[in-house]
């Protein structure tokens, strides 16, 4: 999929005719940063940049989304799957503001993005010029760092810095705002790119004393639990966590974003914890005497009421971001470190001395006795069953992206990931419209893998314009619309907490999704019963090209188990009777 990279120098003949511009310099910097895929959308302020791109077309896989929000969610999907920064270019004003949701999403979920926005020419900045927006002001609270380049000599350095900051430490989005005149004007051939960031030196090596303390509490622990977060995925520490867990025989619970960090089918895996987590995972956290959090940020959707979260546990928290430690949960053993380096140290330094046999038996009994469950109807489909079928058909080996809502929680529950970087979902921000464009980015990052976008009928309608890209690129993404004719998650809360006053949550009309797919030249299928799905799903998933499957499921299903807002992690409702 990724085209062979042609060095900038090879384009010399074309470029030579005109003097080198700021835009050319930017492109050169992107090549230096080893960018291979660009998610861009043109406009006035970035015309010089797109013109420069035109001249080096072959150097990048350029992807034109049909809305900047599509570009940036695709870049997020690309980043999550490839582990490399996603790169976005958008124009000033509306182009930039259309990116805001994605930037905030990436910030919450620690995704590396480098976002370039055009800006009006320096001479008119601050005059409310046409398509001017205060991008610095707007993006400051939702970026790890942002820059407005005011002198061309800074540009190559800033770009280098931006990639460094986005992808090291706790990854996050970096915005680089480039005034149009800077991009358009001629510039010199070379500028210094050395940077010095004395205020940014992430601690990645664990303090051995803290690791020793973890060893000490594990030696006397009776009921330890490990919580796995996305930090493990980001630091590529899946091997290490598995080795540690197996050596010590400690049960594992995961956060939503941590799924795949530890094998979902492993006997010691208790499943996702939190609001829609499994009984076994939540109960284990409630009862444990030692909780080791590796790379998770104790989000409120995980902890529930903090008074009841791991109430009798000694808490160890390994995180590369010191500000996350002690933010929500009182922590006894703070470890500021990269998860992989910490786990390596733990593997070396901590010998298995504890005996947790009884505890493991206990939590596994919970896992057996109170599994996730649903009552499958005779012929009609329910979402849980559909996702189970997707899981079985793809043998748990697909890259799965989701949107936000009930289908997302069911995907987290029923699709078991044995490998990291195959689960792409919007956790912290809970962004509807994320799932489908993210699948496009995921497929571009992993052209040979099966990519399934499991989306709701609501959220899909927020970004479905990106169907154009599937057609244009022949990307074989498989879209599964879990169609309950409702904003299901909202409907569920209204049923439970607002006495069934279904305010604006049930759709009275819907588009014909199959016709919609056909309008984009994509194979579409509508399925409304179990027999049909069981028969057709394998061939639809195996189909060599994009497919949209409109799965009509029963509306009244709710996601269980559930911890109601304000309740503790031990107060689950809807546990298997």
């Amino acid at each position: 999929m990724v085209k062979t990279k042609i060095k900038y120098e090879d384009q010399e003949q074309v470029v030579k005719k005109t003097p080198k511009t700021g835009a050319d310099l930017l492109i050169e910097s992107l090549i230096d940063a080893e960018v291979d895929t660009l998610f861009g959308y043109p406009g006035g302020a970035v015309l010089p940049i797109f013109d420069a791109l035109y001249k080096v077309k072959e150097s990048f896989n350029q992807v034109l989304a049909r809305h900047e929000q599509g570009s940036i969610h695709a870049a997020e999907g690309y980043a999550r799957v490839s582990g490399k920064p996603g790169v976005v270019i958008a124009t000033s004003g509306p182009g930039a503001t259309n990116l805001v949701t994605g930037i905030a999403d990436a910030m919450m979920d620690s995704l590396p993005l480098v976002v370039f926005t055009g800006q009006v020419a320096q001479g008119v900045i601050g005059t409310d010029a046409f398509q001017e927006a205060d991008v610095m002001g707007i993006t400051t609270p939702i970026t790890k760092q942002n820059y407005q380049v005011r002198s061309i000599k800074d540009l190559p350095r800033v770009v280098k810095e931006a990639f460094h900051i986005a992808s090291t430490g706790r990854p996050g989005p970096v915005v680089v705002d480039i005034p149009k005149d800077l991009a358009a004007n001629p510039c010199e051939d070379h500028y210094d790119t050395d940077f010095n960031l004395p205020g940014y030196q992430p601690t990645i090596k664990p303090n051995p004393i803290q690791i020793k303390k973890i060893g000490e509490v594990l030696a006397t622990a009776k009921k330890p639990v490990i919580l796995t977060g996305a930090g493990i995925v980001i630091s590529k520490a899946s091997e290490e966590i598995k080795a540690f867990v197996e050596e010590h025989q400690i049960p594992v619970a995961s956060t939503l974003l941590g799924l795949g960090a530890f094998p979902g089918e492993h006997p010691l895996f208790l499943g996702m914890a939190g609001m829609h987590g499994t009984y076994a995972a939540n109960k284990a956290i409630y009862e444990c005497d030692v909780l080791i959090n590796i790379g998770a940020r104790f989000d409120d959707r995980l902890t529930g009421n903090l008074d009841h979260f791991a109430p009798s546990a000694i808490v160890a928290h390994i995180d590369i971001d010191p500000a996350e430690i002690g933010k929500n949960v009182t922590t006894h053993i703070p470890v500021v470190a990269d998860a992989k380096l910490a786990l390596n140290k733990m593997l070396k330094q901590i010998k298995a001395t504890g005996d947790y046999g009884e505890w493991v038996e206990h939590v596994e009994r919970n896992k057996q006795n109170f599994p996730l469950w649903y009552n499958n109807p005779e012929t009609d489909m329910i979402a849980q069953w559909v996702i189970d079928q997707v899981y079985k058909t793809t043998k748990g080996d697909a890259i799965v992206t989701t949107d936000v809502g009930q289908h997302q929680m069911w995907s987290a529950q029923y699709y078991k990931f044995n490998k990291p970087n195959r689960w792409v979902t919007s956790g912290g921000l809970g962004t509807m419209g994320f799932g489908f464009p993210a699948a496009i980015g995921a497929q571009l990052a992993a052209p040979d893998d099966t990519v399934v976008a499991i989306v709701g009928d609501g959220g899909f309608q927020m970004t479905l314009q990106e169907l154009s890209i599937l057609q244009e690129r022949g990307l074989p993404v498989k879209i599964i619309i879990v169609n309950n004719a409702a904003l299901g998650m909202v409907r569920q809360w209204q049923e439970k907490f607002y006495e069934k006053r279904y305010s604006e949550s049930v759709f009275s009309i819907q588009p014909d999704f199959v016709k919609l797919a056909e309008a984009y030249n994509i194979k579409g299928a509508k399925i409304d019963n179990q027999a049909d799905l069981a028969k057709k799903l394998p061939e639809l998933i195996a189909y060599d090209g994009p497919v949209l499957i409109d799965c009509r499921v029963l509306q009244q299903e709710n996601v269980y188990p559930m911890i109601a807002p304000g309740k503790g992690i031990h107060e689950m409702i809807g546990v298997k009777p």
Partner: protein, 174 residues
Amino acid sequence: MRRIITATVQNRSGVLNRITGLLQKRQFNIESISVGRTEVEGVSKITIVVDVDASQKLEQVTKQLNKQIDVLKVSDITDKAIVARELALIKIVSNSQLRAEIQGIIEPFRAIVIDVSKDSLSIQVTGKSEKVEALIDLLRPYGIKELARTGLTAFQRGQQPQALQENNSFSLLN
């Protein structure tokens, strides 16, 4: 509790915005904030006085500040031996008869008159916030026409006592 936090920062555009924005987003109450250049080129010092209700919250302020790329160092110097000063300009209602009386009030505060008009007097005072406040209170009965304060700026004394203790070794008028 009132805490005095200093942050040295890279003097890049937008850094102040980032810091005040973050304090606001995390719901920290800023009592005052002052910024200025330091002896190092390109480095500024920010002195922030915040009101926090728990030590956990205080830890969060410093950690969140520290996390910013352009922030070089954050210190909570409240319990250190420090010199902390602020400057206030106070314009009060006055006339020729009152001038001597006011002079008598401000003198022990080592405040000075910096502007005089037919019906007003402008006074400049520097010192610890408590001292500034005390003078303002004394001048209030005359009628304050205008008041401007810089907010606190502070750093640690050259020598720190071995055992840390509340620093009350100098008087209010110091």
